[in-house]
């Protein structure tokens, strides 16, 4: 997923519980070649990394837990994961596609 204008320095609180609001939905469509994030009149292609992040944005898991989970699952440095997740989620929140 390409997100322009996302502010990497705009940190997300560790106990924030990101969720997709009603009206924004991650869905898989074979004919369109994979996962897409859908909103009214808007379509965003979601790459494999974005999908892993967004699937965890259930409104139950905290931001901190999501980063921990991703770092463990993909055996990657927690700092780098935290930066990537912040960038994606902040960009989506700015577009009202995500609640923090």
């Amino acid at each position: 997923m390409t997100e322009s204008g996302a502010n990497e320095n705009n940190a997300i609180a560790s106990d924030a519980k990101p969720r997709l609001p009603r009206g924004v939905r991650l869905t898989h469509n074979e004919a369109q070649g994979g996962w897409v994030l859908l909103a009214p009149e808007r379509i965003f292609k979601a790459d494999a990394i974005a999908v892993e992040i967004l699937k965890r944005c259930t409104g139950e898991a905290t931001f901190g837990a999501i980063v921990d989970d991703l770092a463990t699952t993909f055996n990657a440095p927690r700092d780098r994961i935290g930066t990537d997740v912040t960038k994606l989620l902040r960009g989506l929140a700015d577009k009202k596609l995500l609640e923090l």
Partner: protein, 360 residues
């Protein structure tokens, strides 16, 4: 298989569930010849159409009409759309949907709702809709939708009777807690064409409205998304017809005919196929109507050598036909069209007369 032009995958499907509607808006986008209830597709057929649409690549489905609330099986139909994996949007007048139905739709997984508002002034709104009490009922339904958690878009169709109150109508949408407002000037097909002189704003009104919309966008940035459709009779460049004929979207009528756009039946030479006889994939790839104007090879001059050819595809085929008699002609909204003077003349005709209301 006959196929003209490049074949893409559709993204959106407009499902016209019925032509029945309690309102009589004089700019209704339905055809002038309305289909009676007995000819409507049943919910099982819609279910198959939605599954085939998702298989073709469709992501958004818009449940529309007429008034979709006139269908007693609306909740079943919405549930079928969700089962097919489609993002399901309801486009409603707000009249004819009870709070019970709304709750059932929410539980069926409806993703989003669009409610039309005719004016910020209740008396004017009811006069435009041709239905006393419509304004109040729309207000109540929109409020209830937001209360139960459905994201709301307010649809606003702009014409001479309400163009001076765009700011008030945006305020109304904000009070209703809409996340988005679609401000669309009337497009002159079907019923709107019959009422063109009664609806047409003046050039000065259109100019002021364009400035006002830009100011409102800045003023309400972050509070509400404002999407605007320009009034093309007052424009110099044509709109890209449905993002390209047979390129991104399809429209299924209440009886199952599949059209490249909702106005396409205005062009008598087109042959439409029906979902009762063909799969949606066959219709998309092989039906004569979808292949009639795919790509840009059919376009004559001045389009053939124009640098905007792949941007606006020569404009709207229906408008070209309705104003020049030739569906392949350059949309006369374009300043390069030899018929452009006709659009300029028509845009200057305003007549204060009673509307010819849309009725079955």
């Amino acid at each position: 298989m006959v196929q003209a032009g490049p074949l893409t995958k559709p993204l959106g499907l407009l499902a016209e569930l019925t032509h029945r509607c309690p309102l009589g808006c004089p700019y209704c986008s339905n055809p002038v010849a309305l289909e009676p209830r007995d000819n409507e597709l049943d919910a099982a057929t819609w279910s198959r159409v939605f599954a085939e649409a998702a298989g073709l690549g469709v992501l958004h489905v818009h449940l529309s009409g007429g008034e979709p609330g006139a269908r007693r099986d609306l909740v079943d139909i919405a549930a079928h759309a969700r089962e097919a994996g489609l993002y399901t949007n309801l486009i409603t007048s707000g009249v004819g949907i009870t709070s019970r139905t709304l709750r059932d739709l929410w539980e069926a997984g409806l993703d989003h709702i669009q409610v039309s508002i005719q004016d910020s002034d209740a008396v004017s709104a009811d006069r435009i809709a041709g239905y006393r009490g419509a304004f109040q009922r729309k207000h109540a339904l929109a409020t209830e939708a937001v209360r139960i958690g459905l994201p709301l878009t307010v649809n606003l169709v702009v014409h001479r009777a309400n163009i001076e109150r765009i700011s008030e109508m945006v305020d109304l949408a904000l009070r209703l807690k809409a996340a988005r407002i679609e401000i669309a000037h009337v497009q002159y097909y079907g019923w709107a064409l019959k009422n063109r002189d009664a609806l047409m704003p003046t050039a000065e009104q259109v100019q002021r409205a364009a400035v006002e919309v830009e100011e409102l966008r800045k003023k309400h940035h972050g509070a509400i998304v404002i999407d605007a459709v320009v009034p093309d009779y007052h424009a110099r460049l044509p709109k890209p017809c449905v993002g390209g004929w047979g390129k991104r979207s399809l429209n299924v009528t209440p009886t199952g005919k599949v059209l490249p756009c909702h106005a396409a039946e205005a062009i008598p030479e087109l042959e439409f196929w029906n979902v009762r006889d063909h799969s949606l994939a066959d219709i998309w790839t092989s039906s004569p109507a979808f292949n009639a104007f795919r790509g840009t090879d059919f376009l004559p001059e001045p389009c053939a050598t124009c640098e905007r050819r792949e941007i606006d595809f020569g404009g709207c085929r229906c408008q070209a036909f309705l104003l020049t008699g030739d569906a392949r002609a350059t949309d006369p909204v374009c300043h390069k069209s030899p018929h452009h003077h006709r659009v300029v003349e028509l845009a200057a005709v305003q007549e204060d007369r009673p509307y010819d209301y849309r009725r079955m």
